[in-house]
Amino acid sequence: MCDPIRPILLVEDNPMDVDLTKRAFARRKVVNPIEVARDGEEALDFFKQSEGRILLPIVILLDLKLPKVDGLEVLRYLKTHPRFHVVPVVVLSTSSEDSDIQVAYREGANSYIAKPVDFDRFIQVVDQMRIYWCILNKPPR
């Protein structure tokens, strides 16, 4: 069981997906706060502004298609950073193209998930991610 005060960082520009994800987590009484970055720049700011003082997220859910700074660039920044590179990053994408999957793993994504279009399926997948990354997985400190 992971530390309940450490946040989950959701990097997602689509307000509906943000809302759905939050609701899916809330339904299951996830106590970790969910921080939302609405584009790549906000995601980078989240890490850069707080320097060494932030509580590391237990997991980062990262959409690939983002305005301003795209998801791959955020992934690269995180996975080459001396402190942040250990944080699990789950790439959420509407693409199931082989090339996108390969690139994401090569850049150090911990997991790659295709976002379901269907609402019920979306809730199921978010729920599965919650169980896996908030309960089962041991995050680094």
């Binding site: 250990v86 793993y105 599965q128 089962l136 997985n137 680094p140």
Partner: protein, 141 residues
């Protein structure tokens, strides 16, 4: 999406744990073929098989307390080899030492799971691992 034609590679030296893991997965009707490496040398031998064209596993479950070659060393070898670098590696171990967790993520582990001692709980964990890595996660080819 299921990847049941691709194998799960289990790297574990304790025969009882190998047996328990197989049984836990079988209980959940996981039908992927299981490949087992019983020590670090056997694990590293897989690199040669993959170079020879054998299909990559869908996920690797790696114990870190292994004879001959330490599990974290195997992780390092797998995560720096061009073929196996992208394959998700889940550390499945009894150790919940901070240092092991930290080093595992530093070396590129995709996830770190502490093995429950209780069999029924282990069956649940096996089910979650299967559901996450075999059903919702998209592995690289």
């Amino acid at each position: 999406m299921n990847n049941t034609d691709r194998s799960i590679l289990l790297i574990e030296d304790n025969p009882m744990d190998v047996d328990l893991t197989r049984r836990a997965f079988a209980r959940r009707k996981v039908i992927n073929p299981f490949q087992v490496a019983r020590d670090g040398e056997e694990a590293l031998a897989f690199l040669g098989k993959w170079e020879a064209g054998e299909a990559l596993p869908v996920v690797i479950l790696l114990d870190i307390n292994l004879p001959k070659v330490n599990g974290l060393e195997i992780l390092h070898q797998f995560k720096t080899h061009p073929l196996s670098q992208k394959v998700p590696v889940i550390i499945l171990t009894t150790s919940d030492e901070d240092r092991d967790i930290q080093v595992a993520y530093e070396q590129g582990a995709n996830s770190y799971i502490v093995k429950p001692v209780d069999f029924e709980k282990f069956v649940d964990v096996a089910a979650q691992i299967d559901l996450y890595w075999n059903v919702i996660n998209i592995p690289p080819r």
